[in-house]
Symmetry: C2
Subunit: 428 residues, 2 copies
């Protein structure tokens, strides 16, 4: 019976902004982590984080400290013995929720904390998180989900039916993944900060490495976007997939007009075409740009936004994020809704450690929830993996199955020391 | 040419939770303010705040500190010479926005800071904020609004037409307000924390004081809600208005079912029937409970949520909040959209100082935007006004027009000292 004896949080920032990596139409970030460590009276330390973009990481750190009393001194048995009470203690605290509710800095901090608890549980079980989840009894999985406010889209009974059905063929799917890996795509070729010749060179290199799906950023001057799309399409030929990502910059009508221009390069999806809260706007865009898919979700605030995107037919690709929402249990709610509505999940990744996290979620989704690889790809960005003790491994454009216990969220102590903000040597 | 020489922020909390005031189905708060003071090289200090519910106020304070560099050292002429650049410098900073975007703790802090700048401007002009806005040229008002992401609902040209039309009869409306005051309703009778006999006594007292519109909290056990509604309806007779507020607790179908039960007490509106992000859910509820009005907005994250609530016909009463969104300019966008869609605005109030703020917005709305009092009421809660230097004044259930320069947001220095958290004497 392991007790969480203390919660510590580290403000860790990597100076990526200067390099133009991660630059898009609306963000220019120093990739950062609000990094949580759970001390215990047992052999393991639970870790979790939320990804931020630099400035403001101290705010999500403050939010973790505000939430920490909900789990300090609690045992894992207590927390998981009544998972809904545990979850609501950090999502709907009678005072804290006012500064959300279930959104923004507070909810991101909730994600970091909840994920750390799940990492601890997976480590105690001696299993990678995807395996812990995939082997969990249906009843226990359903008990993790807060159905309040999503019951009009999915009921506990429907969730149970999906998860029961997911048991069929699970071993075969796992064997397949272990042999072939999980499909992915790369976002490293087309950041807005890169000049044309760098885009062409990176595209050529990625294609040579085996990538057959690549994402470019759009949302600059439309002529530039059209030109860069042509460069990439020239390099990858007609069969490889080209995804586009506007990072929320466009108005609804602007998105429709610009996608009419970009259609010549045969985009597979348009990601974040407009404001992330605009369910009705995404629905209008999806209708207008079809057969191009609308994809969004990396900054979708919570399961209620995802619920509506699905109900409105506003997306044909659902992009979950591992740590913007309230961690594993809220992601589980999102995966279940996607399965019910028949929309493939392609997790958002990149940043700091998002690849490390979402591989577990994508694998669990395939094994037990969505049970298909059709239209499924995990984003891959080749940044900052060297700071993790259990970094992602890829081969020929596919993620290999992680096998170490936990959620692959442990940062190396020397990386924390080096990049701690503002006192770490990297920031002097 | 006044320069903002420094930004300071105070964590001010009032221990209201113990009294049961402000308790509802989901909140139990120590009413608090993230209180901002702008030091200048001139005679005035700008003040602004965002209201929070106790725990977490340190997080919004941290967010103010993160945003402060955007205005420190700037002159009012610079900020208002290019208002959209000023606004976006605090709503879409390339790093900070990630922990919103435009929502939650960061956006609330933005509201506090932006409101402080507007308070300073109004003080410099020697006018109450409502008057500064009501007299402003149409072109300058339109220039304050960020139309990005709402252009599909309202264009700058449509906004200008509304504001130009609002000039007609403005003097008459102002004379009327100065003579009669602005209609309001009281929320002090039916908090969930109050027993039945206290509800009856408070209702009787409020009716005797002249209130003809009162709000009760619902969202407890439905039998209790039905019984309490009957008590209030008995006391106020058939003609006075009874509003109900569920504070987001219900699922969509639960809201519809419960309102069918509560219909016997002839509610005027049902406020926050479900999750504040659920545009589609509110639309379904509005359709089902009509002719009862659906009202929401006090925790609507931003203008994009309001846009959709209006586009979807999901609300028949729009409840703006003065400081959850990015202050005066974002509220202006919301008022303009409400006018275009023909939905009356009834500002959210109560908390700490919300009455003081929203009276300016409601008066401006009547004078220049909505230009009607039909269906318009400002919430009134009789809490904590004694801590403000220019508190609201009411007579016979109506707000009197504030006449002092500024946004009525100055807390008394002795109140700040007494209730400062955690070091103030009130918290020892």
């Amino acid at each position: 019976m392991t007790t969480i004896t203390g919660v510590s949080v580290h403000d860790v920032r990597f100076p990526t902004a200067a390099a133009g990596d991660g630059s898009d139409s609306i963000n220019k970030g120093d990739y950062s982590a609000t990094y949580v460590e759970l001390a215990t009276d047992g052999p393991h330390t639970g870790t979790g984080f939320t990804f931020t973009n630099g400035r403001g990481n101290e705010i999500t750190c403050a939010a973790v400290r505000a939430l920490a009393p909900a789990i300090e001194g609690r045992t894992l048995d207590e927390l998981f013995g009544d998972p809904l009470t545990f979850l609501r203690s950090v999502t709907t605290d009678v005072q804290l929720r006012w500064i959300g509710p279930e959104k923004g800095a507070l909810h991101m901090a909730t994600g970091a904390l909840v994920n750390a608890v799940w990492d601890l549980r997976a480590k105690e079980a001696g299993k990678p998180l995807w395996q812990l989840l995939a082997e969990m009894p249906t009843e226990e999985l359903v008990a993790q989900v807060d159905f309040r406010h999503i019951r009009d889209a999915i009921t506990p009974e429907e969730a149970a039916a999906i998860l029961d059905k997911g048991r069929v063929g699970l071993e075969d799917r796992l064997a397949q993944l272990r042999s072939e890996g999980f499909p992915s795509y790369t976002t490293s070729v087309g950041w807005l900060g890169y000049p044309d010749d760098k885009v062409r060179a990176l595209t050529r290199q990625a294609y040579a490495e085996g990538w057959r799906a690549m994402k470019m950023k759009v949302g600059g001057p439309i002529e530039d976007d059209v030109r860069r799309a042509r460069i990439i399409r020239e390099e990858i030929g007609p069969d490889a997939l080209l995804m586009m990502d506007a990072n929320q910059i466009w108005d609804v009508d602007e998105a429709i007009a610009n996608m009419a221009r970009l259609a010549e390069s045969d985009p597979y999806w348009i990601e974040e075409p407009t404001h992330p809260d605009d369910v009705l706007g995404h629905a209008r865009i999806q209708q207008a740009v079809s057969p191009v898919r609308v994809a969004t979700g990396e900054v979708a605030a919570n399961r209620v936004i995802f619920k509506q995107l699905l109900q409105a037919g506003a997306i044909r690709v659902m992009q979950i994020d591992a740590c913007r929402v309230a961690g594993v249990p809220e992601v589980l709610a999102e995966l279940l809704m996607a399965a019910k509505f028949g929309v493939p999940v392609c997790p958002h990744s990149g940043g700091v450690g998002l690849c490390e996290l979402v591989q577990h979620l994508a694998i669990f989704d395939y094994l037990r929830v969505g049970t298909s690889l059709e239209g499924r790809m995990v984003e891959y960005v080749d940044h900052l993996h060297e700071h993790f003790t259990d970094p992602v491994r890829t081969r020929d454009g596919r993620y290999l199955v992680p096998e170490q216990p936990g959620y692959s969220s442990d940062l190396k102590p020397e990386s924390i020391a080096e990049f701690r903000f503002p006192e770490g040597p990297a920031w002097q």
